[in-house]
Symmetry: C2
Subunit: 376 residues, 2 copies
Amino acid sequence: MKKKLFELPSPEKHIAFSPDKLIRTPIRKTLFALLALFTLLFASQLHAEPRYQWRLAMSWPEGTPMLHNAAKRFAENVVKMSGGRMQIIVDAPGRHKAPLGIFDFVRTGAYEMGHTASYYYKGKDPATTFFTTTPFGLTPTEMNAWYYYGGGLELLHKVYARHNIVAFPAGNTHIQMGGWFRNEINSLDDLKGLKMRIPGHAGEVVERVGMKPVSVPPGELYTALERRTIDAVEWVGPANDEKMGFQKIAPYYYTGWHEPGAELHLFINKKKFYALPDDLQTIIALAAKEASFDMLSESFYRNALAWESMRKEHGINIRTFPDDVLDAFKQSNEELLLQAAGRSTLAQEVIQSQQAFLAKARKWSQITEHNYLELR
Amino acid sequence: MKKKLFELPSPEKHIAFSPDKLIRTPIRKTLFALLALFTLLFASQLHAEPRYQWRLAMSWPEGTPMLHNAAKRFAENVVKMSGGRMQIIVDAPGRHKAPLGIFDFVRTGAYEMGHTASYYYKGKDPATTFFTTTPFGLTPTEMNAWYYYGGGLELLHKVYARHNIVAFPAGNTHIQMGGWFRNEINSLDDLKGLKMRIPGHAGEVVERVGMKPVSVPPGELYTALERRTIDAVEWVGPANDEKMGFQKIAPYYYTGWHEPGAELHLFINKKKFYALPDDLQTIIALAAKEASFDMLSESFYRNALAWESMRKEHGINIRTFPDDVLDAFKQSNEELLLQAAGRSTLAQEVIQSQQAFLAKARKWSQITEHNYLELR
């Protein structure tokens, strides 16, 4: 519809058939005044209907299930809802070469937008970490309740405003699995010295209890696990893990504790966002929220289906870490949260806000989700 | 922004300063041709930017927590995202007088839109029932995975297309509680003859195991329970139940089994919806989806907070029905689902689609939500 507006012949074209040749003063003056007026009216309308050609850099390679889809559907929905006034080109790391450089791309305005996860940017600002996920923290439903009603979104805006970025939650992977282990873990002792691919805050948690978190590029993970260069690996969940093939070489699949619903984020250059007309701002905010919601549904759906097929085709032993391991992880996590809070007032504010809500949410999830899944 | 477009002086006003008096033929002809051209251009733009003044009838009284909010925020978001091109007036039952008449309002076009719950219209079409909820069925996260990835939305459209309605999921109450009981339920025998306010399909389930479901207007429920006209009542969850005051007179609060995430719906008159430009159709669809998502977050948040304050102020005993009661409910529910499937091919299709997804979702929820809440 908006497209039609721009396909109309421009006023200049019509003026081009040379009114001068036909008209004399003072009629010419009047006519010119009229033409000027109409041109002004058109110009003000054109001003009121700018086109935006924006670019979005995402952290995910083309074709990554869920992650890539969330960024693409966000862009498509903005285009549709704006009637084509805003176009968004989505670039994958294959083009921009910096999967973890989205923060800087958007901050500097090299890209107007980015799709990434807040916790990749701990080095830029420690307060960014827990907007994605906290071990033993909020489930996706609880996380959304916190973001939209418990003050989370305001804190997110407060933290990112300092970096010239407007951030929105824009995708959730649902509860992630605890990873693949070649050997069964029966006690805390079995973890000592174990080499595991587990990045970020969770990597620090396991390191404190004697494990050795290691960094291995995704393309080399299968071989590393097969050749026992590493003993364990956590990736995402069945839909993503199945493609990596871990189920063929590691018989134990552990339930999750460290990423109970990792939230991804849309970053937008702050100045450019606030220069947009109000309707486009709302369209972007809602399309991001829809992407967050939709990716959670897609993650649940694909993982449920992949888990069914994986179970049928492979002898997978599903395990939950024993109590002494979990207790050690919990204690280590709490110590690290205290450290993080000590390093940054804003990080402290985020952690305290989440923990305060968790104290209430925990009891409600227990008598709803937990009880219901128990009795169903 | 769109508003500005309409605030521009109309071309007619400017023509009104009488070019005739100043101009002679053939210049007059040329000028008229020019004016006609500009007027045409403006007119085509006005045609491309119609305003829609739509009305929405909701089932919920003004001020009902969550329910009312979801309808209002849907309407506000459409207004904002359309730049004011579409305005939506939301009418509560105080005005339209028919809380359960939304289906007919929208089908006939008396209202362009409605906000209600599909399962209220079982009498119109048995296939409408399970789009809201099924006892022992899908949780909110599972329900959304089914709607958006498991074919649920397509089935919803298929069922409602026959009634000249386009329906979208547009609000979720999260897992509802099983209700308030004056006496503890220790076995199936304790249920025999018990009078309980529990409507719809769930009412039929409990009736088959010997209870007496009764219908009592909301305003009389508290007194009915206090005077033992009824023995039990299910309403929604802490945020709504607390306002009714049931916690003061019924000491046992049972966990839920019958409405694991009731989904509400936006109804739109089909002909009017498809007559809208594409961008407004997408805006409406996304605003509905956002309302569904947001209401789930709001419900979780408010219930978690209300449960905290309710527990502290009252001696509430939280209970889960004993196994023999749950087994009887389950069997009764399955028999009723079979009956419903026998009455309507479309109802059968909906039930089978949900049950097939539940078989996969059940296992995945067990190793994610259930396991995580167990170990957290």
